[in-house]
């Protein structure tokens, strides 16, 4: 009996979670994914090769030495 009740509770929780996810706006989805995948505070910033705005090589190592703020964006 106890097992049956617990299974029912699990099913209800799963259904509730699925319903909550289904009601997420795109912005909420992206925020949730960000929280799952973002680099943690205190962790090293990723070491990756990029380009500057003129196409010259730039490496995230160049961000070391002072506080840097990086904001992602695009034309749209």
């Amino acid at each position: 009996m106890y097992t049956c009740v617990m299974n029912c509770v699990r099913v209800l929780l799963a259904v509730g979670a699925a319903a909550a996810l289904a009601q997420e706006s795109p912005r909420e989805q992206q925020t949730r994914r960000f929280e799952q995948n973002a680099v943690a505070v205190g962790a090293p910033f990723p070491k990756l090769a990029l380009y500057d705005g003129d196409g010259k090589p730039f490496h995230t190592r160049q961000l070391v030495g002072s506080y840097s703020v990086l904001i992602t964006g695009c034309l749209t």
Binding site: V39, G53, I71, L75
Partner: protein
């Protein structure tokens, strides 16, 4: 303290006619265009075409990271917020002796490019597209062409196709405004053709775009197909023929794409079109109207481009969460003084 914008994949392809670049050179053209339309003293960095840093940071379109002098993440958030950023920086590095005001920035938004009339060819009537369709991963076959991709393919699958292998496929061929081209309707219309692929049935396998009375236009050429995939879900090759024309040249181009039946995590999300079915503004529309996608006469933070979003709370003088025309006018006037 240093500030950077990182240019990455488009968040909302088709907005203002902009479409995703297919080469690094084209992405750098986007950066140049971003500098033109949204002048800022903050330098742009450019992510690789694989969007490596975007993925590593958490994949949100308007993320904000503060990196400390040792190269560690001091703070981060999914959506950039200028007030919170300022508070973070004051906490981490100490308060600023002098706070720059918006009026000092002198921001003047420039017009988006328009090379031919729009609103001539009706858009495909898919009112649920933004919710029901997802961008597919596509590979432009760069080594099989001698021309730039003047036209960019946007391929989207509905949920049934992605889930069951049987459903609807949206194909949109969009002129890239950064090449200044338009459709020349005095020559043969565009044509696509799927190469035979075992395990993939696509109908129609071949189609031709509409004949248009106007000599030239810049509306996308859109098609809807039905697809049935076998177990192996083989990628399929799509060939597209068109004329790329400006006022000074017009040449026949044939280009190919390899279409994969998997979602593109960098494909962005198209905005729901306003009533009337036109995705782009009419002649003479102002920046406010361009941004006001739901047509309610006021702008939310989500409707404005990211660099402007940074300053949104400052433009929103009465702090009601929206910017109206008067607030926008005052902001622009301040920038022009």
């Amino acid at each position: 303290m240093r500030f950077y914008y990182l240019y990455k994949a488009l968040a909302h392809p088709e907005l203002d006619g902009y479409v995703g670049p297919v080469t690094l050179e084209e992405r750098l053209m986007h950066v140049k265009e971003a500098r033109r339309v949204i002048p800022t003293a903050i330098p742009w960095l450019t992510d690789t075409m694989a969007n490596g840093l975007k993925h590593a940071l958490g994949d949100s379109p308007n993320m904000e990271y503060i990196i400390d002098p040792e190269g560690k993440v001091a703070e981060r958030r999914a959506w950039s917020d200028p007030d919170e950023l300022r508070a973070d920086l004051a906490r981490l590095a100490g308060p600023s002796e002098r706070v720059t005001q918006v009026e000092e920035l002198g921001v003047k938004l420039a017009e988006r490019p328009r090379h031919a009339p729009t609103g001539i060819v009706p858009r495909l009537d898919l009112p649920d597209r933004a919710q029901q369709f997802r961008a597919l991963l596509i590979e432009p076959q760069l080594d099989k062409t001698n021309s730039p991709f003047y036209v960019k393919l946007r391929a989207e699958a509905d949920r049934a196709l992605l889930r069951d292998g049987k459903g609807r496929l949206y194909l949109g061929f969009h002129l890239d405004p950064l090449y200044g081209v338009h459709w020349n309707n005095l020559v043969a219309p565009v044509e696509y053709e799927w190469m035979p692929t075992e395990g993939a049935s696509i109908a129609p396998a071949k189609a031709t775009g509409p004949k248009v009375a106007a000599e030239a236009d810049a509306d996308p050429r859109e098609f809807l197909a039905t697809v049935e995939l076998g177990e192996s879900r083989p990628s399929a090759t799509l060939k597209f023929r068109y004329y790329a024309c400006t006022d000074t040249f017009c040449k026949a181009v044939t280009q190919e794409y390899l279409v994969h039946w998997t979602p593109d995590r960098d494909g962005g999300r198209t905005q729901q079109r306003p009533a009337g079915g036109q995705g782009r503004p009419g002649p003479g529309s102002d920046p406010f109207s361009r941004f006001d996608r739901d047509g309610d006469g006021k702008l939310s933070a989500e409707e404005v481009p990211p660099p402007m979003r940074q300053r949104f709370p400052l433009i929103d003088a009465n702090s009601d969460g929206f910017v109206d025309r008067e607030e926008m006018r005052r902001f622009r006037q301040a920038g022009q003084r």
